[in-house]
């Protein structure tokens, strides 16, 4: 199977490159790479719900935010380290996801209506946290950074390279998990539901159960992204983390990269971040230092991809590279 072989080889090459990146990259590139991996991971998590099970969530910042605040709050108020806090964060997000999912499916809310339901929950939570004083309210939650020189993985404190590797591990883990899921029975059921829900139900698939599973997996995975965010940025503001702009940022990667594919979210995140940064450089170099130009450029490229490559860039790229995934 030539295509399979080629895919594995390319994947191995990429993995090696990513592993040794910190040795060659300057801090700026490392920070950009970490950001890419963060969005790749979060996009992959969202992809489970949308690309695999066809549920459009436009309020995914809810899980990032709740995950972040739970872990950060435990650390800030009780000194509980991130490795312990993460479990509670995942639990909280899974519960939230379960509630949203149950409500939606029980009351037959789908498509755009479901998307709006997710937005409503995210906004509701944002305003709620804005009024919740113990975790800082609108003033924000600031986490103390003890040190940033030596590696303290247990407390998630250390040099930027550490955060890079944590993000890399998360992304790799998500990739592996999604790959397993996609090629398992669950994955096939999901795809069936995505393609034609009624037919799937007619075939005897318990649609409710599998949709819920997708939501639970997606929301718990996203919680981890939130925990990472909390300990990487060390300050949280409800206005910023539950923002609908963040929800949109999260989904841009998978949609541009390729919905429902394994590699789409990663490719999408990389392309978008590089695009954003090179736009800034290009515009600076050309001397068009007018605020807003960069975003217009960004928007135009986005528009182009959406119009001419509706299934995302990865499927086209994969074909060009001779892979079949």
């Amino acid at each position: 199977m030539k295509a399979e072989r080629r895919a594995t080889v390319l994947l191995a090459v990429l993995a090696c490159a990513l592993l040794v990146l910190p040795a060659f990259a300057n801090p700026y590139v490392l920070s950009v790479a970490t950001l890419i991996l963060f969005f790749a991971y979060t996009g992959q998590a969202w992809n489970v719900m949308m690309g695999f099970a066809g549920q459009l969530s436009l309020g995914h910042s809810l899980y990032v935010g709740v995950g972040a605040y739970v872990a950060a709050g435990l650390f800030f108020l009780y000194g509980v380290g991130p490795w312990a806090g993460v479990w509670l964060a995942m639990l909280a997000c899974a519960l939230l996801g379960a509630v949203i999912g149950a409500l939606a499916f029980r009351f037959r809310i789908a498509g755009v209506y479901f998307a709006l339901l997710t937005i409503a929950f995210a906004e509701f939570t944002r305003i709620g946290f804005d009024h919740f004083a113990p975790l800082g309210g609108p003033g924000g939650l600031f986490l103390k950074v003890e040190q940033r020189q030596h590696l303290d993985l247990l407390a998630l404190r250390g040099p930027p390279a550490m955060f890079y590797y944590v993000a890399l591990a998360l992304t790799a883990g998500a990739f592996a998990l999604c790959s397993r899921l996609l090629h398992s029975r669950v994955g096939y059921y999901w795809q069936a539901i995505r393609e034609n829900e009624e037919a799937a139900q007619a075939l005897g698939i318990d649609v409710f159960r599998y949709k819920m599973l997708a939501i639970l997996v997606s929301s718990s995975m996203t919680a981890l992204a939130g925990v990472f965010f909390a300990f990487y940025y060390n300050n949280l503001f409800p206005e910023q983390i539950f923002n609908i702009g963040r929800s949109i940022e999260i989904i841009l990667g998978p949609i541009i990269g390729g919905l429902g594919t394994l590699f789409g979210p990663i490719l999408g995140a990389a392309l978008l971040t590089v695009l954003a940064d090179s736009s800034t450089e290009l515009i600076g170099a050309l001397g068009w230092d007018i605020p807003g130009v960069k975003q217009v450029l960004y928007g135009v490229v986005l528009l182009g991809v959406v119009m001419f490559l509706p299934h995302g860039i990865w499927p086209v790229l994969a074909q060009k590279l001779g892979l079949r995934r």
């Binding site: 949308m50 459009l56 755009v112 709006l116 009024h131 919905l259 975003q295 928007g299 986005l302």
Partner: protein, 289 residues
């Protein structure tokens, strides 16, 4: 908190709600018929607001007069937008439509930033600062006028869809896309017409909104969200529904602000949305799915 204040503020909530409803009307028309998830709705209204400011500054046109040319211009633009850009997207999945319009929104917001700069623009009309006195109550003159325009526009649209041939044809397309084509309706043209009408509505809303709110390039997204909430609460494709949804939001926000905490009043709009989605997803005045 005396009764007079409560009545006064509740009334203000109704008026504000009618203006919100006007803003949502355009979305109801577009979403209800063409089924396009117009996430650039707020941006379109922002452009209309800037257009009104420009007309006021250069030609001294009062927004109530500028209404007509701006609405006409937007009708044309909407028509072209639909024919040119959006038409191929009707059959595409929702997330594709959503992305198309998000990209469009990003371009529009930042183009506005480039052209107009970040400062807020407004329309200086001193007569608007004089309230209308109704007995002991003070009503915002601008809001009353805007509410009036909202009612007239909604009525006009309602009449159009109910009584004219084209209007009925459009409703037929909305109800049964395939069937409409079968009986020979030029669906593409009708969709473009609808988008044009919806855009004209948005333009009217913008002309009225600038009377009460200053415009900045980043004004759009908040109103897009609000419009969607209203349309869902009121019912898709229903003109009176959009107004009713708007009024409900306006009043609930006023009451929440009065009796609980003004900074949390948006929470109630979202709570209302969640409730409606759960209990009556077709909206209060919408037809059963």
């Amino acid at each position: 908190m005396d009764a007079l204040t409560v009545v006064d503020l509740t009334l203000a909530g109704v008026l504000t709600g009618l203006l919100y409803g006007l803003m949502a009307l355009g979305l109801s028309v577009i979403f209800g018929v063409v089924r396009v998830v117009n996430f650039a709705h707020g941006e379109m209204m922002t452009i209309a607001m800037y257009a009104t400011v420009v007309l006021f500054t250069w030609l001294g046109l009062d927004p109530f007069v500028a209404l007509l040319p701006v609405a006409a211009a937007f009708f044309g633009l909407g028509y072209l937008l639909q024919r040119g850009l959006i038409n191929p997207f009707i059959t595409r999945p929702e997330h594709s439509q959503f992305m198309l319009l998000v990209a469009l929104a990003i371009i529009l917001v930042n183009a506005l930033l480039m052209i107009f700069g970040p400062d807020a623009r407004h329309v200086q009309l001193d007569y608007l600062l004089e309230p209308i006195e109704v007995g002991p109550l003070l009503l915002d003159r601008g809001k009353v006028a805007a509410a009036g325009v909202a009612a007239v526009t909604a009525a006009a649209l309602f009449a159009f869809f109910r009584f004219t041939l084209t209007g009925k044809a459009i409703r037929a397309c909305a109800d049964n896309h395939l069937g409409a084509q079968v009986i020979g309706l030029d669906v593409r043209r009708l969709y473009a017409l609808t988008f044009g009408l919806g855009s004209a509505c948005v333009a009217v809303a913008g002309c009225m909104m600038i009377v009460l709110v200053d415009v900045t390039p980043t004004l759009g997204p908040g109103y897009t969200l609000l419009a969607f909430v209203i349309v869902i609460v009121g019912g898709l494709g229903s003109m009176p529904g959009a107004l009713l949804g708007g009024v409900l939001i306006g009043v609930s926000e006023a009451l929440a602000g009065l009796f609980i905490a003004p900074s949390a009043k948006s929470m109630f709009s979202f709570a209302l949305l969640i409730l409606v989605l759960l209990l009556r997803p077709q909206g209060l005045l919408g037809k059963s799915a």
